[in-house]
């Protein structure tokens, strides 16, 4: 059933986000630390475990892949709710302090990528479905 997939996603969301919230509390900061990341790892491991035991039916998976396909429209909706007006009215300092450090960070990416090359370089074609 489709809802099983949605529920599986929900359990990963809740456990991962709670873990991130509590990790933040534990570190004494007012922010979620890695909640989405923990939830993603949990989903990968859990779905792998379930499919090895034959519990991942196509209908179950469709409950997850629906949200996967909704992701870009949701990001568009998110973009539409950003405080863009404030960003522009923040003046030159806001614009420069937003752009220059980001440009420096962008420039570091090729260097880091070369310096820490993964052992088996399969380039851009290693997003295989391993479930």
């Amino acid at each position: 059933m489709t809802i099983y997939g949605v529920a599986l996603l929900a359990v990963c969301y809740i456990v991962g986000q709670l873990f991130g919230e509590n990790l933040g509390k534990l570190l004494g900061i007012d922010a979620n630390v890695g909640g989405v990341g923990f939830a993603m790892l949990m989903l990968i491991l859990l779905s792998d475990w379930l499919s090895k035991r034959g519990f991942m039916k196509p209908e179950t998976e469709s409950g997850i892949s629906f949200w996967n396909q909704m992701y870009i429209p949701i990001i568009v909706a998110m973009a539409a709710t950003q405080n863009v007006a404030a960003a522009i009215s923040g003046g030159l300092l806001a614009i420069l302090a937003g752009i220059i450090p980001t440009a420096i960070a962008f420039a570091m990416i090729p260097m880091l990528s070369r310096f820490f090359k993964p052992k088996n370089t399969e380039g851009g074609h290693d997003h295989g479905n391993n479930h």
Binding site: I75, V76, T81, A85, A87, G90, T102, F106, D126
Partner: protein, 255 residues
């Protein structure tokens, strides 16, 4: 009278309205991508830029801070584009992502996270200094704002910065998210952002969730889970480092 009924109805069923409007935006964006840009600009990128433009219109017309969602009939955008559905959808992208790649790039992901926060912080603080903010409190808040629009106010509140300064740090963070969303597909080719390994570095060093997710979606949706995995730690790390060690460092240097 009829107008009022329609407005109230649309506001009450906001999420469904948001689905319809976003669907129309996606259709128009894909149409433009194919017919006007010969597929050189992805439909998702056009749609995201259009979304940001709508946010600007909403902010200017209402004076609110939630973009288009401050206009009554579009209020459903705040649910559809809010953190809950966003994170729910982002997590779903992990299905089909390779755990092996994530583990291999784990170390560089961690390095890029620290490098991203520290580098961005000091670059932001340096710009603050050039603009005449030469005290540790202001430079720290502005440097933190250059990380993300959450790190900025969290840090500003922690170090006791003024509310104008905190508002400025939020504005800086939003500029960053916007520029990353628009700029990533444009520079992807030049920084080699076409594989999961680089996507993890990108997520770690850039870190602003909204920008990273939108930027990768517009570049190549297959890379989204990898960038999202590292980016999700950035704001937390920034909130950890900026008001503590980095602030202490600034205090030692600038008093």
């Amino acid at each position: 009278m009829i107008m009022e009924t329609i407005t109230n109805f649309l506001a009450k069923n906001g999420l469904v309205v948001a689905f319809l409007v976003t669907g129309a935006i996606m259709y128009a964006a894909n149409f433009l991508s194919i017919n006007a840009f010969k597929k050189k600009v992805p439909g998702a990128a056009i749609a995201i830029v259009f979304g940001l433009f709508m946010a600007y219109i909403g902010g200017v017309t209402t004076g609110g801070k939630n973009g288009i969602a401050d206009i009554k009939i579009f209020s459903g955008f705040s649910l559809m584009g809010g953190a809950m559905l966003r994170d729910f959808a982002i997590i779903s992208t992990a299905l089909g992502a390779s755990f092996v790649v994530m583990r291999q790039s784990g170390i560089v992901g961690l390095v890029s996270l620290f490098l991203g926060v520290i580098l961005t912080f000091f670059a932001g603080a340096g710009i603050a200094y050039v603009f005449g903010y030469t005290d540790a409190k202001s430079m720290t808040t502005i440097g933190a704002g250059a990380c993300t629009y959450i790190v900025g106010p969290v840090t500003g509140a922690a170090v006791g910065a003024s509310s104008e300064l905190i508002a400025l740090s939020i504005a800086i963070g939003v500029v960053k998210a916007t520029i990353v969303a628009i700029g990533t597909p444009l520079v992807a080719k030049y920084i080699g952002l076409n594989n999961p390994h680089t996507a993890m570095i990108f997520g770690g060093i850039i870190g602003t969730n909204a920008g990273v997710m939108a930027g990768l979606a517009a570049t190549d949706p297959k890379l989204v889970p990898y960038g999202a995995l590292t980016a999700t730690f950035y704001t937390g790390l920034g909130c950890l480092l900026c008001p503590s060690v980095l602030y202490i460092f600034m205090k030692m240097c600038f008093g």
